[in-house]
Every structure is written in structure tokens, then in C-alpha cells.
């Protein structure tokens, strides 16, 4: 009995580990020295015209690069924004001239900081969908990526278990 459950647990752990590594590989995208990990966005409320794009971007090279734009087919406009809480006031600014990624730097795009802003959405984004998109870097050029669409209030990408 003890042995069976232990074996079972071991098998489960192995399966989970295997799944996680598959996911990690599937959610990593590269262009020259730019590595993009786990792009995600959130499901949007009905009638919402905006959504945020989040991920980590690492520059493994020796030259600085800049994220200067991109495309999400569901959105009419794509910008890089910076969100900040100033006391109780939420402030949103466009990042002028693109987002710099210094050599060796890992930049986190998240809901409470720098993020992509998808505007003029043509359709709601639904939880569980995978969206194809593209990012454009000054030096690394264009990179095709895929976003996982998480829940409305998600604070990060889920570990998908299949």
C-alpha cells in the first residue's frame, strides 16, 4: 500500500516535471541574443478595448537592444506603456523611444510596471486561448511569439498541466 502510493507519487512528480519542462520550452522564443519567456495576457471584460501583454525579456548579447513595437492581430494599436502607482493614483505613460534591454539584463513586463498595451481590440480575449503575435526589436528584428490568455485578474502565467 505504502509502496504503491509512493510509486504513484513519484510517477506524478515525474509527469509534472516533464510537463513543466515541455511548457518552458514551448513558451520560450528567441531572436539573436533576445530571449522572450512566457508571454501572457488576460481575458478581457465584455466591451473592453484594451489589454496588457506581459513576459520576461532577456538580452544575452553584449549590445543594448530596444523593444520598439509589435503586432497583435486582434488589436488595432500596440504600444509599450509604464504603469505606476503614485500614492493612490494610478498613472499610465507611453514608454518613449522603446523599452531598452541592456546587455545581460532581464526585463520583466508585468501588470504593475512596464507592459505592452494592446488597444482598439476588435474582439474580447478569452481565457485559455493562445494568441500569435510579433515583437519588433531595434537590433534583433522581428520575433514571432505566442501569448497564453489567463483569467481576468491573473497576476502571472499559469503552469499549464497539459
Amino acid at each position: 500500500m505504502y509502496n504503491t502510493s509512493r510509486l504513484h507519487r513519484l510517477a506524478m512528480s515525474a509527469a509534472i516535471l516533464l510537463n513543466m519542462s515541455v511548457v518552458a520550452v514551448a513558451q520560450q522564443f528567441k531572436a539573436n541574443s533576445i530571449v522572450i519567456e512566457r508571454p501572457w495576457t488576460r481575458a478581457t471584460p465584455a466591451g473592453a478595448k484594451v489589454a496588457g501583454g506581459y513576459m520576461t525579456i532577456t538580452n544575452t548579447g553584449s549590445e543594448p537592444d530596444r523593444l520598439i513595437g509589435g503586432v497583435l492581430p486582434q488589436a488595432g494599436r500596440f504600444e509599450v506603456h509604464q504603469m505606476k502607482m503614485n500614492g493612490n493614483v494610478m498613472q499610465m505613460r507611453e514608454v518613449q523611444g522603446g523599452l531598452e534591454i541592456k546587455p545581460g539584463q532581464k526585463v520583466e513586463l508585468n501588470p504593475g510596471g512596464s507592459h505592452l498595451m494592446f488597444m482598439q481590440l476588435r474582439e474580447p480575449l478569452k481565457q485559455g486561448e493562445t494568441l500569435k503575435g510579433q515583437l519588433r526589436f531595434e537590433k534583433a528584428g522581428s520575433v514571432d511569439i505566442e501569448y497564453s490568455v489567463e483569467g481576468l485578474g491573473a497576476q502571472g502565467p499559469q503552469q499549464h498541466d497539459h
Binding site: R42, G47, A48, H81, N88, Q91, P111, H115
Partner: protein
């Protein structure tokens, strides 16, 4: 010599008076008894707006029940949907007790957030949340009454986004400000505030 000691007495007396005044003020603001949830600030007041069904409403329509008031806009990617989702989760957890609350989502962007747009947007959240829009003048007036900062920020494409206060104002059943729920406050703390507001024990 005599003058110096007289000055010292005056300075001392002034200091004592200042300390006393500070202590009284501190006591009134921070050590208030929350049993009856007394009003603590001149926040709130009359307003005249339109709800998401297109019906004209005033502040008087929401008296008799405690009211949560949140200002935002539907072109808001993070703070507004996150807060509305948190409020939705709270209302669902409270179940029928939440029927004894008003929850208002007042737009800071009346140009784009018509009652129809608010109705569509709020269909993704708890149906007990009411959206309010109105003329730019009336929205400005309600922002002022609730001490809400809101400002248009132009974007490169000619469009705009909004900076705005992200705090939820908690009003008692007489329409007086009693508390605030800050952005990203832990759900447990918000729940305790709502329980107190509704006279429920902390579960």
C-alpha cells in the same frame, strides 16, 4: 534673567498646548471607535448621474444601505478590471448579505463610457455592481465630492488614457465616508471591512 525665564515659560506652555492639540487630533483620527462607523472625512456628497440602464439617479437613491464607490474607466487594462474582479469575488463570497450593499462604478471617462458601454462591460462582473456615467460637468462634480484625482493623458495616436485614484470609498448608509479599500489590499482585510460595514461577525 527674569525675561529669559518668562520666555521659557511661554515656550514651554506653547509646546504643551501644541502637544495636547496633536494628541487630541491623533485620537480623533486614528483612535476613533469604529462600533458605529462614524464619518471621518468630508468625502462624498450630492451627485446627479445616469446608471448603466440609462436611468437618471442621484446620491439619494443609494442612501439606506452602505455603499462602495469606485472610480475608473473601461479603457483601463489593469487597475479597473482587477478591482472590479476583486469586488465581484467579495460579493459572491458574501452571497445574499451583499444585497445589503450598493456597489457603484463611476466612470472618469464619460466621453467613451456611455451607459450602454458600462452595461456591456459590467456584464462580465457581479450583477450587483452599478455603473454610473453622466455629463462631463456632473462627473467632474462627483470626482470633486469624492476627492478623486482624474486626468486625461494624451497618447501618440491622438487617443488618450486616464490617470485616476484607484481607491474604493466606503460610505455608510447615511452616505458618509467611513473607510477606504486601497488598490490591491489583501482580500482578507477587505472582507473584514465589509463584514464590519454589514454588521457581520468576522468569519
Amino acid at each position: 534673567m527674569r525675561n529669559i525665564s518668562r520666555n521659557a515659560v511661554w515656550i514651554g506652555a506653547t509646546l504643551v498646548a501644541l502637544i495636547l492639540a496633536g494628541a487630541i487630533l491623533f485620537g480623533r483620527v486614528y483612535l476613533r471607535d469604529d462600533g458605529g462607523l462614524p464619518s471621518v472625512a468630508q468625502i462624498g456628497g450630492p451627485f446627479s448621474l445616469v446608471d448603466h440602464h440609462g436611468k437618471p439617479v442621484t446620491d439619494r437613491d443609494y442612501l439606506g444601505k452602505p455603499t462602495l464607490v469606485f472610480f475608473g474607466f473601461t479603457n483601463c487594462p489593469n487597475v479597473c478590471p482587477s478591482t472590479l474582479l476583486e469586488l465581484t469575488n467579495q460579493l459572491e463570497e458574501l452571497g445574499s448579505d451583499a444585497d445589503r450593499l450598493n456597489v457603484l462604478f463611476i466612470t472618469v471617462d464619460p466621453e467613451r463610457d456611455t451607459p450602454q458601454q458600462l452595461a456591456l462591460y459590467l456584464s462580465s462582473f457581479d450583477s450587483r455592481i452599478t455603473g454610473l456615467s453622466g455629463t462631463p460637468e456632473n462627473i467632474l462634480a462627483v470626482e470633486k465630492a469624492y476627492h478623486i484625482f482624474a486626468r486625461k493623458v494624451p497618447l501618440e495616436d491622438g487617443g488618450y488614457t486616464m490617470d485616476h485614484t484607484a481607491t474604493v470609498a466606503v460610505m455608510n448608509s447615511r452616505g458618509q465616508y467611513v473607510d477606504a479599500i486601497h488598490y490591491q489590499a489583501p482580500s482578507k482585510i477587505t472582507r473584514a471591512k465589509l463584514n464590519r460595514l454589514l454588521g457581520l461577525g468576522n468569519s
